[in-house]
Symmetry: C2
Subunit: 397 residues, 2 copies
């Protein structure tokens, strides 16, 4: 029984356009179409568009049959999510990707998203992804983890950027402060001299404003960005190992199933062969030997069932931890974005503040400039430097 592949209907594609390269379309027994990316193993209920990431409306008929409360899911989530359908006995070999077993196209169960309309991490990263050459694969979880680490890197780089701004402000402040103490035109006197002196001083005031800015940049933006989640990489490593270990365990249980399956096949072959031989009286095998072969065959069947059970347990455990952990990663990412947003707002707030404070540094200069009075300055200067107000008179003989 091969999967019933639904070749693309001309009518439908005229409506929706061609699938992107590599994608195939299938019909589930319930009549719901689903799509498989033959390059990367991605499977999805949603029709892929040629442009990755084009927003698509979520499936119309997805009642929230199962909502995830908190991070812990009890029972065997896989069974519960198959809304009402019993798992039917199938032909040999469910499709598996790296020892994770996915539904066979013939009996694709009805699946609703765990968190519809939320584009949640827990819904979209089940399959492993093949790389472009198709040789190595990387798990969905790996991809989520890389995203987290990249986020941490971004936070660090933003802090570095702020540090560079701080350096620029400190240089500017230093230059203004130095120029403020310059003695150019210090000999200007009177009301004009006062206004000039204040103008020079205002540069020192500007320098203070910029130093304050750089100081707050450090304490209110750079430092928080640097220190947020200091142990993050360690925590992510733990996550990584935890989930990877569950996958390894899953893989080893899968290998056990394969081994048990092989053993059963051999035992069955042996039984069949011995039964045939009895009928054609080809050998001197007694019924005793056939009974033994039958017993071994039954035992092998039991072994296989046990192995499959153990496998399913392992897969359930992994599934549970996947949902829990990916939802945690999702929450962490929301927090990260929010934290950064807040601190960038702090940056703009400090910029506003700085420009305001800077404005006030010229106010006193303006005041003194309004008071500049050439007549007054002349009076002051003449009083200090006059040589005599008695005028000469004619010489007498």
């Amino acid at each position: 029984q091969k999967p019933r592949k639904a070749t693309p209907q001309t009518g439908e594609d005229t409506l929706n356009g061609h699938l992107p390269p590599g994608w195939q379309s299938y019909m589930s027994p319930q009549g719901r179409r689903y799509y498989v990316n033959t390059f990367t193993n991605e499977t999805t209920w949603e029709r892929p568009s040629s442009v990755p990431g084009t927003p698509k409306s979520p499936p119309a008929n997805s009642p929230s049959a199962f909502t995830v409360n908190g991070y812990h899911i009890s029972g065997t989530p896989v069974h519960q999510l198959d809304s009402g359908h019993m798992s039917l006995r199938k032909a040999s070999g469910d499709p598996q990707i790296n020892c994770v077993t996915f539904p066979h196209p013939d009996i694709m169960p009805e699946q609703q998203l765990l968190k519809p309309s939320e584009w949640s991490y827990c819904d979209y990263f089940w399959a492993d992804k093949k790389d472009s050459q198709g040789n190595n694969t990387v798990s969905g979880f790996e991809i989520l983890l890389q995203k987290q680490l990249k986020g941490k890197q971004m936070q660090k780089e933003m802090a570095e950027f702020v540090r560079e701004r701080i350096k620029i402000e400190e240089e500017y402040a230093k230059n203004l402060s130095k120029l403020s103490q310059n003695s150019l035109a210090a000999q200007e006197e009177g009301t004009l001299g006062e206004a000039w002196a204040q103008l020079k001083k205002s540069l020192a005031d500007e320098a203070d404003v910029h130093l304050k800015f750089s100081s707050k940049l450090q304490s209110e933006v750079e430092k928080p960005l640097l220190n947020f989640r200091e142990n993050f990489k360690k925590d992510m490593k733990k996550c990584d190992h935890h989930i990877a270990d569950l996958r390894k365990h899953l893989a080893s249980r899968y290998a056990a199933v394969e081994k048990a399956r092989k053993a059963l096949t051999e035992r069955q072959k042996d039984l069949e062969m011995k039964t045939q031989q009895l009928e054609v009286k080809l050998s001197n095998k007694t019924e005793e030997e056939i009974k033994k072969a039958r017993r071994k065959s039954t035992q092998a069947g039991d072994d296989l069932m046990r192995c499959v059970d153990l496998y399913n347990q392992a897969q359930s455990k992994w599934f549970e931890e996947m949902v829990t952990t990916t939802l945690e990663l999702e929450r962490l990412e929301v927090e990260r974005v929010e934290m950064i947003r807040q601190h960038l707002c702090q940056y703009t707030q400090l910029r506003h503040e700085t420009d305001m404070f800077n404005q006030s540094t010229v106010e006193l200069v303006d005041q003194l400039l309004r008071k500049v009075d050439p007549a007054k300055d002349r009076e002051l200067w003449v009083k200090e430097h006059k040589t005599g107000d008695i005028r000469p008179v004619d010489m007498e003989i």
Copy 2:
């Protein structure tokens, strides 16, 4: 006849305090007190206080008997200014300072300031000033000229200061612009990535604001300050030489008067001697010789009168030019102060502008930060990176 020195009246000084060191007080025949600085030759109607430059109310009884319209004074200003008094014949030697003749304390004429209450240059710089050791003198006009040249120097130094500010702004702009192009955290995506990108761009906008500031500083403040009165030093040199030449001319006319005075004295001595000799019949001088001596004496007297006339003309000419030129210097100084004031106002205007423009560079960043949406960013990212939304199911046997 010695000058009638009025020793300081105890009553008066109890009211007003002691005169500063070196100053003497005199009473004019009209009963008006005046003061002489024995160190520097300064003479003034105003009582000097111990603190130079302390504001004093102008003389109560100074009707504006003579106002200076424009810069040209017709006639002999000295005579016109002696309000009503005729110059009396005096004893030998009006006080003179470097060949400029000042009123004798006995017949101090009533003098009103040419421009009362204005502390005008034309009223206060008649005498030459002795330096601290009392060896060299510098004319009042020299002092005014030095003030002008110093003013030009101040203007130049202010322009230099602005140039330094320009350099600081250009450096700041260059640093901001460079940092703006830095690729730190360029990999941040979605709404957060957009806000971050705009934050980085805002630094380039700030750089533009500061470049504009520095550019306007140059064209609207530095350049005008540098170029105002480019030929000023040359013009002042001309002034200097013009007045100095008149003083030299005055000095030579004064020397001529002294020479003529000596000649007259000798002729008179000769006449007296010859007349005496005739009476005591000591010599064989004839009446003819006496007549000759008398003639020469009279001629010497006429010569002296002519020399005095020529001197007075030269002094009047110098006086006229002094009033004209010092008033021009005064006007130039008022203009200079006003020009500087305007351009310093331009500086503060540009500072206000700059801070305002700078404020607007973070507005767009604020807008984008308000739009930061972790859920949206998750949707975008998941759509691009998802590996599969079909969940695994139990393995069947």
